[in-house]
């Protein structure tokens, strides 16, 4: 147990110390690879100003809006596809056709119609997260493959209509949907940052790109650290939420091969 904490901790400190030492010794150019202490100082200095908070806020708001849009629409369509055969027949081929398309390729098409603005970015960032839960629901056939005995048991105990839905169908469909949400949030962040790089209107991606273009390398590293932090938060944060909501489904939600 102690080894599980000690080894990763010592290893990360060793890597950071090695980096610091190599720069101090002059083996790595400080202008290209600012030492960790320098990056930390830049982060602290930036945190004192307002600009950085604006960028963080912009990225989080864009990701949040895209994810929320995808979550609501994806859940409704996913459940409908599972429940009604006709909806499934109509939507499934389209979902399967669109899903393998690299999500960022939607960006130029979307902004052709909506313009190079917030709306275009959010819609682009929402497309794959919208398709993902649908794919996952189909994969595990959450509602469509729901065990008939579960439904019969629910009906036998007097549940019907809305109650059958909220008490039996939704809980059964929730774990696979959550797998979709977790993957979707990760993809949403990738597309959001990529679109910010291209669009260049603020946000952590825009800040990163701008810092690189005017060669403010310290700022670039600071932005990179924050984007990585957001990535870790997004990847492992939803896992923690799922663990709270569905302790019986932890294994399903763990990232494959993490441990």
């Amino acid at each position: 147990m102690k080894r599980d904490v000690a080894i990763p901790l010592v290893a990360s400190v060793a890597v950071l110390a090695l980096w610091e030492a190599l720069v101090r010794a002059g083996a790595l150019r400080a202008s290209f690879f600012p030492p960790p202490t320098e990056v930390a100082r830049t982060l602290v200095a930036l945190a004192g100003g307002r600009e950085l908070w604006g960028h963080i806020g912009a990225t989080v708001a864009r990701l949040g809006a895209a994810f929320l849009l995808a979550l609501v629409a994806g859940t409704i369509l996913g459940l409908a596809m599972g429940w009604w055969g006709a909806v499934r027949m109509a939507a499934d081929p389209l979902v399967r056709l669109l899903f393998p398309i690299p999500s960022i390729a939607f960006f130029p098409v979307v902004i052709y119609y909506l313009g190079l603005n917030e709306m275009g970015l959010v819609i682009t960032a929402a497309i794959t997260p919208f398709l993902l839960p649908l794919i996952v629901v189909q994969a595990s056939a959450a509602v469509g493959g729901l065990d008939r005995t579960l439904l019969d048991a629910g009906r036998h105990d007097g549940a019907a209509g809305g109650r059958l839905f909220t008490r039996v169908i939704l809980p059964a469909a929730l774990p696979p949907l959550f797998v979709g949400y977790r993957l979707a949030l990760g993809v949403g962040l990738i597309v959001t940052v990529a679109a910010e790089l291209v669009m260049g209107k603020g946000g952590l991606g825009g800040f990163l790109w701008h810092s690189w273009q005017i060669l403010r390398i310290d700022d670039m590293y600071a932005a990179l650290v924050l984007i990585a932090g957001l990535g870790v938060l997004v990847t492992y944060g939803l896992e923690a939420v799922a663990e709270r909501l569905m302790p019986w489904q932890v294994d399903l939600l763990r990232i494959k091969g993490q441990r």
Partner: protein, 262 residues
């Protein structure tokens, strides 16, 4: 287990709704409900795509993109599988690299483009390297997961038959982990394509991503749709093609159907 719904059957079911969408789209433009300069009808797009292909311009972009994709994947796959196997087999190494791996796995790899360009310079090498990092990390994690998922009883059975060291690895561990490794390669290749298109949109003059971006910027709507269609077709072919290949090469694995994640 009795299901509420059976699986849909017949190819016509899969083709029905896309065909309906295309016909409605064509008719709506034909009837004057939508301006063709706003949403060009499918018939015009097919004609434009044929012309672009005959002219050779689009082929050039396609080849550039395929070249970058191939180079990124080849650069990533061998070291990634080797490292993944090592991490799966040795716990100490796994624990030591876990924090770095976690941080880099979670970061949107496109954000590394400026850093890579700082180190390798602006140009082809940076584009390929950034795309390669994505597949590299994905394949490390999948390979590691594949090794860790090999059941103890399988290993013990191998040992009982006298397999140790290299033989145990070659005949027991590796074949058991292979389906998962292959899945990692398929996801890795799809992610690499996303990154190639993304870096081309951001920082390239040639390639399908650059073609798409330029079409959008010059309001050449026909080219925009054609570029999108070619990129989409590339995504579809890679996903489904590799999946079919996997089923062919590893008859012992459970058949997976494409487009499903993991």
């Amino acid at each position: 287990m009795s299901k509420v719904q059976g699986r849909g059957s017949g190819w016509w079911r899969a083709a029905a709704s896309p065909v309906v969408v295309a016909v409605v789209w064509e008719l709506a433009v034909g009837a004057g409900l939508v301006r063709p300069s706003y949403l060009p009808p499918p018939s015009r797009l097919v004609a434009r795509l044929t012309a672009l292909m005959a002219g050779g311009d689009l082929w050039g972009h396609l080849l550039v993109t395929l070249g970058r994709l191939g180079a990124s994947f080849v650069l990533a796959v061998v070291p990634a599988v080797a490292i993944g196997l090592a991490l799966g087999m040795w716990r100490g190494v796994r624990l030591a690299t876990e924090p770095i791996l976690t941080a880099f796995y979670a970061i949107p790899k496109i954000a590394l483009l400026p850093l890579v360009m700082l180190i390798l310079g602006v140009g082809e090498r940076s584009l390929v390297a950034t795309a390669a990092i994505t597949g590299f990390l994905q394949m490390i994690v999948s390979t590691m997961g594949g090794v860790l998922a090999v059941e103890r009883t399988v290993l013990e059975a191998g040992q009982n038959y006298g397999a140790t060291g290299w033989r145990l690895f070659r005949y027991v561990l590796f074949p058991s982990a292979l389906p998962e490794i292959f899945t990692g390669m398929r996801i890795g290749l799809s992610l690499t394509l996303v990154l190639v298109i993304a870096v081309e949109l951001t920082a390239a003059q040639e390639g399908l991503g650059a073609f798409l971006w330029n079409a959008g910027q010059t309001l050449a709507v026909d080219n925009l749709f054609c570029g999108f269609a070619v990129i989409g077709a590339l995504g579809l072919v890679l996903t489904h093609g590799l999946d079919a290949l996997g089923n062919l090469l590893m008859p012992w694995r459970e058949r997976t159907s494409a487009a499903l994640f993991a």
